[in-house]
């Protein structure tokens, strides 16, 4: 297994790219440690699949280098990069048994049959497919087929990295959680470097120790699941992670304070000086629906809609023209009610041109 370094990667599908808009990947720098579980998370079109294809060697980047354990592999073809890949749709041989499917990547490399047997047995056990080993792959359900595909990706212990490209797309929603957790468990057992590409936050956060969030060809945050939820460093991360996502409210900055609809909003800490004056650029307040409560004082708001989603309610409120979502457990105010919103100051941040611009007070610790 290997450490993977991406250095100043840029990619454009155009022959003569000019401005940043011509690039689908804009200056990617990343260092992935040996044996880590990583996710690349972002919406369709954010560049995550392009990045995956560049790592696997299916695509040559316009600029930049890819290193495995410090060795430059940018010019190596896919077959020399020693990578295992699991795709959206199961890739297995229907005419073979499950055992032979799992053994295939090993036999292909001339691995000794005794070792093949040992590896296949171990992987089958981890995937709970031992009792299917002698069955033909053709008759398996889609989720079992995809399990076998995953097994084929994991059966070799000499690969540099195992990459999963939206591997749960074909899986029934009710079975997804078992495979999601299975993959996490597998990583803990085999400790291979794994990269998981998805647009699904639950899949990414469940699987990865470190999640790389991408938007529009750039990395907007790299962090643990807790960091992404608790302290998004970009408004996109706040929006994309969590359901509903973070409220992003327009505001003005005056004398180091944030003003929203005429109300002073207390932030987690001091506002960092902008590149120009404080207050320059587009300023917004970010606060998650989970960190707002109703009270007798605070920012006056009107309740527009209440959705009881069982374990909590999602309350749509409006302040002036701005919609603010609040998650409340237990009794929710009724539609049309006048109320006040209280923002948890330690979870309230200022963003300037999308990027976080407040200092966390505990950061000094």
């Amino acid at each position: 297994m290997a450490r993977i370094t991406l250095s100043q990667l840029r990619h454009s599908y155009l022959p003569n790219p000019k401005g940043p808009d011509d690039y689908v990947l804009k200056d990617i720098d990343l260092d992935w440690h040996d044996g880590g579980a990583y996710a690349l998370l972002g919406p369709s079109g954010c560049g995550k699949s392009t990045l995956l294809n560049i790592i696997s060697g299916l695509l040559a980047p316009s600029e930049g280098r890819i290193l495995f354990d410090g060795k430059d592999v940018t010019d190596l073809p896919p077959e020399q990069r020693n990578i295992a890949q699991v795709f959206q749709f199961p890739v297995i041989y229907d005419t073979m048994t499950v055992y032979n499917n799992l053994a295939f990547p090993l036999r292909n490399r001339g691995v000794d049959e005794a070792v093949v047997k040992d590896r296949v047995t171990k992987i089958a056990e981890m995937l709970d497919v031992t009792e299917m080993l002698q069955k033909p792959a053709a008759g398996l359900s889609p989720d079992n087929k995809q399990k076998i595909s995953m097994g084929r990706g994991l059966v070799r212990d000499d690969v540099n990295v195992v990459m999963f490209d939206e591997p749960l797309t074909v899986i029934d929603p009710h079975l997804k959680w078992t495979l999601r957790s299975k993959l996490k468990e597998l990583h803990q057992k085999v400790r291979a470097t794994m990269i998981y590409v998805t647009h699904d936050q639950t899949e990414a956060l469940t699987f990865a120790d470190q999640v790389v969030v991408m938007e529009d060809g750039q990395i907007v945050q790299i962090g643990t699941p807790v960091e992404l939820f608790e302290r998004p460093t970009h408004t996109f991360v706040g929006h994309f992670i969590g359901s509903p996502g973070m409220n992003i409210l327009p505001c003005n900055v005056q004398n180091g304070q944030a003003l929203f609809e005429g109300h002073t909003v207390v932030l987690e800490g001091p506002i960092e000086a902008g590149t120009v004056d404080q207050g320059a650029g587009l300023t917004q307040i970010g606060i998650r629906p989970e960190f707002i409560t109703f009270g007798a004082t605070g920012v006056p708001a009107t309740v527009r809609k209440v959705a009881d989603i069982g374990r909590h309610s999602v309350v749509d409120t409006v302040v002036g023209e701005t919609l603010i979502k609040v998650i409340v457990e237990g009794a929710a105010p009724v539609q049309g009610a006048a109320t006040h919103l209280r923002f948890d100051p330690s979870k309230t941040r200022l963003y300037r041109d999308g990027w976080i611009a407040t200092q966390a007070l505990e950061a000094a610790e």
């Binding site: 369709s44 029934d172 929603p173 959680w177 647009h199 936050q201 359901s243 996502g245 069982g310 374990r311």
Partner: protein
């Protein structure tokens, strides 16, 4: 406008796919069909749309029997999980196609297509072809075609299932607004309990080709009639175990018991099934979640703001779902706390008794 199903059923090769089903579907809100893949949602929609013949029973639209009418004559729209558009036509012509079939042309056609495109925010794309669009834009095109017609009934069969998570969130908010005030009966099939709750309206819980319960969505969630309904309406699956009721105490196992109140306390002594949703099994003790359960952590999951843990107690597997990020060590023994005020109790026949 109403759509009424009276004892409709479906058989394929002598096998019953849809058991006799009676439902009265009304306009003004979403009518959600909630059930797992393969439970019969699509089969039921096909019967209502006239794409499959019923084995028995009647379908009435506004009181008139339409059971024998072809799909074309039922004045309905259908949107599938997979984006279905005509690849050789522009977005404009795709949206216009049902109007052209209805003999509408000229400025009325133009106006109605543009209005639908505006609602779905695809007006700048009208000259493009479907393959030049993203998945979300293709599905918006299919939705525009479904609303342009002003049909009496609209069937949406898992229309968001193949879209990105965030796009799904956005469209799910827009859909009820889109159909509000149109007077059409809207039927929406989904396999996700949370989606049903977010859409609100009324829900039919479907399991094994049968509607187990029908009524206001949140009512069904909070007051399931039987175990099947409680289970269909839970993701992750609802926790279920056997208890022995003795006096006013429920015994789960020799170590775990709790006091019963209300209807549950009044039950005859004996064995019952208890079910409790994962969000009422907490990883930390609270005022209400107070009955300690000790389990071995099997797997854990994290979504944006929720943590779940699957753990075993003896042979039973339980799930806890909590707000915030909780870390668990797989294989470790961890305390969990059950909220006894949120338990459902079922008799041997599966009917809820408390």
């Amino acid at each position: 406008m109403t759509l009424e199903l009276r004892n409709i059923s479906k058989q394929v090769g002598g096998v019953c796919h849809i058991k006799p089903t009676t439902l009265l579907l009304k306009p003004g809100h979403f009518n959600v069909l909630l059930g797992e893949t393969g439970s019969g949602k699509t089969s039921l929609i096909k019967l209502m749309a006239g794409l499959d013949p019923v084995a028995g029973g009647k379908i009435l639209m506004d009181g008139a029997d339409i059971t024998a009418l072809s799909t074309q004559k039922r004045n309905i729209s259908l949107v599938h999980q997979f984006f279905v558009n005509y690849p050789h036509m522009t977005v404009f012509d795709n949206i216009a196609s049902p109007l052209k079939l209805a003999g509408i042309s000229g400025s009325e056609l133009q106006g109605r297509v543009e209005e639908a495109a505006d609602i779905l925010q695809i007006r700048p794309l009208l000259a493009r072809r479907p393959q030049e669009l993203s998945g979300g834009q293709q599905q918006r095109t299919a939705l525009a075609r479904a609303i342009v017609k002003q049909s009496k009934a609209v069937f949406l069969d898992e229309p968001l299932a193949n879209l990105d998570f965030k796009l799904r969130e956005e469209l799910r908010e827009q859909l009820p607004v889109l159909f509000a005030g149109r007077g059409a009966v809207v039927v929406y099939a989904t396999s996700e309990p949370e989606e049903a709750l977010l859409l609100g309206g009324e829900t039919a819980l479907i399991s094994d080709g049968r509607v187990s319960q029908f009524g206001p969505t949140s009512e069904l969630y909070h007051r399931p009639h039987d175990f099947t309904s409680a289970n269909v309406f839970s993701d992750p699956p609802i926790n279920a175990a056997q208890i022995t009721k003795n006096g006013t105490t429920a015994h789960l196992n020799p170590e775990t018991s709790w006091e019963l109140s209300g209807d549950a306390a009044a039950l005859r002594d004996g064995i019952y099934q208890v079910a409790v949703r994962p969000n009422h099994v907490a990883p930390v003790k609270t005022q209400t979640a107070c009955v300690p359960l000790t389990g071995t952590v099997l797997v854990t999951e994290l979504s944006g703001s929720d943590s779940s843990a699957h753990f075993s107690i003896g042979k039973d597997v339980w799930v806890s779902l909590a707000h915030g990020v909780h870390s668990y060590e797989i294989g470790a023994v961890h305390p969990f706390y059950l909220d006894p005020t949120k338990c459902f109790y079922f008799a041997a026949d599966g009917q809820r008794v408390a």
